[in-house]
């Protein structure tokens, strides 16, 4: 499994945000993209996942395992994404959230329930299936969100500053958990952050995006 971006240029109206960015993420590796706010880090992830905001234009290609998915709608790309907020669906239970994520190829009520229980056990949250997500702690919610993405069997993982909201102690633990889980599944992972600590922990290539003015 690999994820590659080729010659990506992003513009807002006449203003060019990113010019000709290319990167490749091999299987099981984490590539970190860094840079100050407003430089277009998150927009790059949005382009990769196919959810670029209206008003932005882009050229370039997104490749998954060498296949061009640039024209595919977001839900057919198989690219999972984790945000700064857990974004658990508040109207569903924990199990509901995980079942929503769980890939449909796993059939049968019992099998699906079992997969959920296993995922919760892996996240050290055993038996929380029927909890209301609003009643969980921040760390618990973050882990449920991660398991929800992993259960959907993505072929690549995008991390949009997913550790920013957690306090220092929790951050280290969760970061380790996420990176380990991604590596264990051989997922190519693209991490966007402005925290150098994240980049060090990721232990992969780091791409620094500079503000447009500096690049001229």
């Amino acid at each position: 499994m690999t994820l590659a971006l080729e010659a990506v240029t992003l513009s807002v109206g006449p203003r060019t945000l990113l010019r000709n960015v290319s990167l490749a993420v091999p299987s099981g590796e984490v590539v970190t993209v860094m840079g100050p706010s407003g430089v277009g880090k998150s927009s790059l992830l949005a382009f990769a996942s196919g959810a670029l905001a209206g008003g932005m234009t882009a050229t370039g290609r997104v490749l998954i395992d060498g296949r061009d998915v640039t024209r595919e709608p977001p839900h057919r790309r198989g690219i999972g994404i984790l945000f700064q907020d857990d974004l658990l669906f508040p109207h569903m239970s924990v199990a509901g959230n995980l079942l929503f994520g769980l890939h449909p190829s796993l059939r049968g009520r019992t099998a699906r329930r079992a997969a959920i229980s296993a995922a919760l056990a892996e996240a050290e949250l055993p038996g929380l299936e029927h909890r209301d997500p609003a009643t969980l702690s921040g760390g618990q919610r973050a882990r449920v969100a991660l398991m929800r993405v992993l259960l959907s069997r993505p072929r690549a993982l995008l991390l949009d500053e997913p550790f920013g909201r957690l306090d220092a102690a929790l951050r280290d633990r969760f970061r380790g958990f996420v990176l380990a889980a991604a590596r264990a599944r051989n997922l190519p992972t693209l991490l966007v952050t402005h925290d150098p600590e994240d980049a060090r922990a990721a232990a992969g290539p780091v791409i620094e995006l500079a503000p447009p003015a500096a690049r001229v």
Binding site: P73, P74, L87, A145
Partner: protein, 556 residues
Amino acid sequence: MIPLAPVLLLAAMLVPIGAGLAATVLPAFGWLPALGGHAPSLQPWRDLLASPGLGRAVALTIGTGLAATTASFAVALALAVAARRPAMARVVTALLAPLLATPHAAMAIGLGFLIAPSGWLARLLSPWLTGWSTPPDLATVQDPWGIALTVGLCLKEIPYLLLAILAALAQADAMAARRVAAALGYGPWRAWALVVLPRIWPQMRLPVMAVLAFSLSVVDVALILGPSAPPTLAVMVLRLFADADLARWFPACAGALLLAGIVAAGLGLLLLIERVAARIGTAASRTGRRGGTGSAADAASMCAAILLALLGAGALAVLALWSFAGAWRFPDVLPARWSAAAWQAPMLRGPLLATIGIGLAATILALLLAALCLEREQRTGTRPGRSLALLYLPLLVPQIAFLSGFQQMLVRANLDGGALALVWSHLVFVLPYVFLSLADPWRALDPRLARAAAGLGASPARVLLRITLPLMLRPLLAAGAVGFAVSAGLYLPTLFAGAGRVATLATEAVTLSSGGDRRIGAASALLQAMLPLLAYAAAILLPAWTARHRRGMALQ
């Protein structure tokens, strides 16, 4: 379907208004071949000007419209200032919310039963206090100056404007500005005038404009509480449209156009006042003068709130009494005999079902169109620009100026009196309210929820059905309740589009108010008032029940 949604939504509203206006303008200048008008002429205007009482009708229209709007806005503002503590605001809102939910016609009928010379107030005070054994010959309703009409309008518009002010306050966080002003030594009233009002006015402009346009062109309340000789211009035009002499159709169209002109002038005047007031306010704020504690104004405002709530509650109570009255003669405080006959009258069943059916259909369609438009916004990440202002058109153009033309269009298409015609004509008025209520919560929905779901492999349709709609349940039901309440209150659209074949509770209540069994009239008005209340109750209770195990939903 979704890419077309904005076009469909605007067409649903603009086709009736546009075509209707055209079919009013042409006859107003002499062109209506079917009635022998083949050449442009000013004869319709000459006929209109020759109509007896036109001058007084116009004066009455302008007088009551301006008075109702000014008084409503002033009292609503005063209430908002006086109820500056949140606890107080909650009390005032709770007192006035039932008034807001009650349709205009039902409230007007109840008010009439309350304050008429033979009304409940006179009965409560007679003969022990007043000495009246028969009702006094006082014009306390349908008075020639339109005072009862103005009061009836205020009773409905004050709660509407107050809630609009409270919503604007929450949005603009204008109370922080008031606290700053208070810390600088400005009393609450002066701080409001100089700091808060300018902040919330942009959000208040449209509601005030809608109230002004409505008050100038209202038909049902004017039929119930307004004078009849001469009536307001809107009622006069309605009579001309319904005249046996078919030639009266021409001056009727001219009159409808005149009313539209008066409304346009009124809206222009409002914008002018806005500028002048802004200038005065700026000058006043530069003097640095403090004061404006206004304890007396606080007390007066609270009295006004209580009086309003009492009038509203009294109006609904007297409707209930009349609907169960057997024989009830003046000056008895309560009926001498009780009877449930009015509630068993078979003539209420048809209008009740029609009101529910049309209301549900129009509301569901409006929700569908509005939701699809907003979903399109979310997906494309773009907001419609100026075209959105067209949403407000049905609230600003006088109903009578385009409904007769729309009726002609329906007749031509052989649709009048059918379900489609009725639902469509209601949709025109339901759509703006539904869209405006739904837009803010929908736009506030975190777009990353949909992105996260798409990242999990959920198709857009699945995201809409499983994520967006369930999360929007509360706003959807709230918007639906508003839409249903609007539909249940519509009188003129039913009258015109229904081809007289369809009676709703609104048309039934208004018809019976001008004559007919007062007990059945009271029952139909009360039913008309209860339907929106039920809708609001459902909109509150249903999401609370489905989300009873989801704390995160309460924060929405």
